[in-house]
């Protein structure tokens, strides 16, 4: 049964990807990539990666679509040029050659799902065994993410933070208008999304009523995902995306300005930095208690309790940073008027 599902989903993904590349209308391409992400999430779920599926669904289909649409309202929706035929032939040739090479290489790959492959041999069984004894939380993914590989995750959080800072810097500049290009037809395709993006839906009764009903529950669900990362799929990254999505929904319904009044930009900036600082602070506290950096076991008398405390706090840090960064990015795009 799984085989049928898998083949079906994978084939649909290839078709969607082809359609994305083929269409000249960028709006269509963005919506299709939302569908692509959902298919990908379903496929991740089939491959036993529940956490990843949750993340992909929240980020890929939700936030990334909104961000791309936000960018489209600022840049226009149509691709102006088809690639020239020479270009296309060369590109196709390169792509076909590499595809054949990669496919040829796949025959040497270890068998799919074989527990004896090198990937499954080294650290993974150790992680699974040790989680049960030393950390004692059910979700091994969270244990690896937050405890065994806490350094990695700290680095990722800082990458996310850096990207957020980068966006804020990029958009802090006011554009210097250079001479316009010769082909002055940029406003020929007015974007349909543009009408509503900045000021929110003010005339659509049903989405507004239902959105109002749902937003508190989406927020609560985000917090639920945040705090149940130890027990099931979830954690700071997913929760940050879901909470950000709830606020973005509010911004789309009621207008970006009102969303900024609910959580002002200075709070968001504080959250971006504060989450990362909270994470690092846990590491420093561990060092002050004569442990190594991010060695949570020293945080309490009982090492297992210490691990629990450490994981909950750093997951909170991750969630705060991710929420802050995603919302800052959204506001940066939505608040940018067309120059």
């Amino acid at each position: 049964m799984t085989i049928i599902f898998g083949v079906f989903l994978l084939t649909l993904m290839v078709i969607t990807a082809l359609a994305i590349v083929h269409t000249q209308h960028l709006f269509v391409a963005v919506i299709l990539s939302g569908i692509f992400s959902l298919l990908m999430a379903a496929n991740f779920f089939l491959l036993d990666a529940a956490d990843v599926a949750l993340t992909e669904a929240a980020i890929g289909a939700g936030i990334s679509t909104v961000l791309f649409l936000g960018a489209l309202t600022l840049t226009g929706e149509a691709e102006r040029y088809r690639s020239s035929s020479v270009n296309r032939v060369v590109a196709l040739g390169v792509v076909a050659a590499i595809t054949l090479m990669v496919i040829y290489a796949t025959f040497d790959k270890p068998a799919f799902g074989d527990p004896q492959t090198p990937v499954q041999q080294h650290v993974a069984p150790w992680y699974i065994d040790t989680t049960a004894n030393d950390i004692d939380i059910p979700n091994v993914v969270t244990a690896v993410l937050a405890s065994f590989r806490g350094y990695d995750t700290l680095g990722e959080v800082f990458v996310v933070l850096t990207a957020g800072i980068g966006i804020l810097f990029l958009f802090s500049a006011t554009p210097t208008r250079r001479k316009k290009p010769q082909t002055e037809q940029e406003s020929e395709v007015e974007s349909t999304a543009e009408i509503k993006f900045g000021e929110g839906l003010r005339h659509f009764l049903i989405p507004q009523v239902v959105g109002r009903l749902l937003i508190p529950f989406i927020l609560l669900f985000g917090l639920y995902v945040q705090f149940h990362g130890d027990y099931g799929p979830g954690g700071g990254f997913q929760a940050g995306a879901i909470i950000a999505a709830a606020i973005i929904l509010y911004a789309l319904l009621e207008g970006e300005a009102r969303a900024l009044r609910v959580i002002p930009q200075w709070v968001l900036t504080g959250m971006m930095a504060g989450g990362a600082i909270l994470y690092s602070a846990v590491g420093v506290v561990c060092m002050m208690l004569d442990g190594n950096f991010l060695e949570y076991s020293v945080l309490a008398a009982d090492p297992i309790t210490g691990q629990h405390i450490g994981i909950i706090v750093i997951e909170a840090g991750v969630g705060i940073t991710v929420t802050g960064v995603l919302l800052s990015i959204f506001h940066a795009f939505a608040g940018r008027r067309r120059f």
Partner: protein
């Protein structure tokens, strides 16, 4: 056993409705009629399939979660459909069987803010 049979009946009927919805999307002539066909999938298909899974789950927390998912679907899917249809009207896709000016003058006017107050600054008693 009886539960199992009932569950499978529900599941396969749900699957049938989803299939018919898919056929309908292919057969219908224009955008709005296609939405009608796909709403078969949205409502009957989803309801029957989730009820079927709920019977499989038995009386547990999972069944309650499924019921909540069903409730969520029944609230959001018509909303999404409505938003889709409104967006199509806005973009100027005309439903067949109507006069061309309808969507322009009676439908959605973007400029008046008059009715915005009906939700936002509503009278509080």
């Amino acid at each position: 056993m009886a539960l199992d049979i009932a569950s499978w009946v529900l599941l396969s009927m749900g699957g049938l409705f989803v299939f018919i919805g898919g056929v309908g999307v292919l057969r219908m002539p224009d955008f709005y009629t296609r939405i009608h066909a796909s709403s078969l999938t949205d409502t009957m298909g989803a309801i029957l399939i989730i009820l079927g899974i709920m019977l499989q789950a038995g009386a547990s927390l999972a069944a309650i979660k499924l019921a909540m998912i069903l409730l969520f679907l029944l609230i959001t899917s018509p909303t999404a459909t409505n938003a889709l249809a409104s967006a199509a009207l806005l973009a100027g896709v005309r439903p067949c069987g109507t006069d061309p000016v309808m969507s322009a003058d009676k439908g959605i006017d973007l400029d008046t803010n008059a009715d915005a107050g009906s939700l936002g600054e509503g009278k509080d008693t």
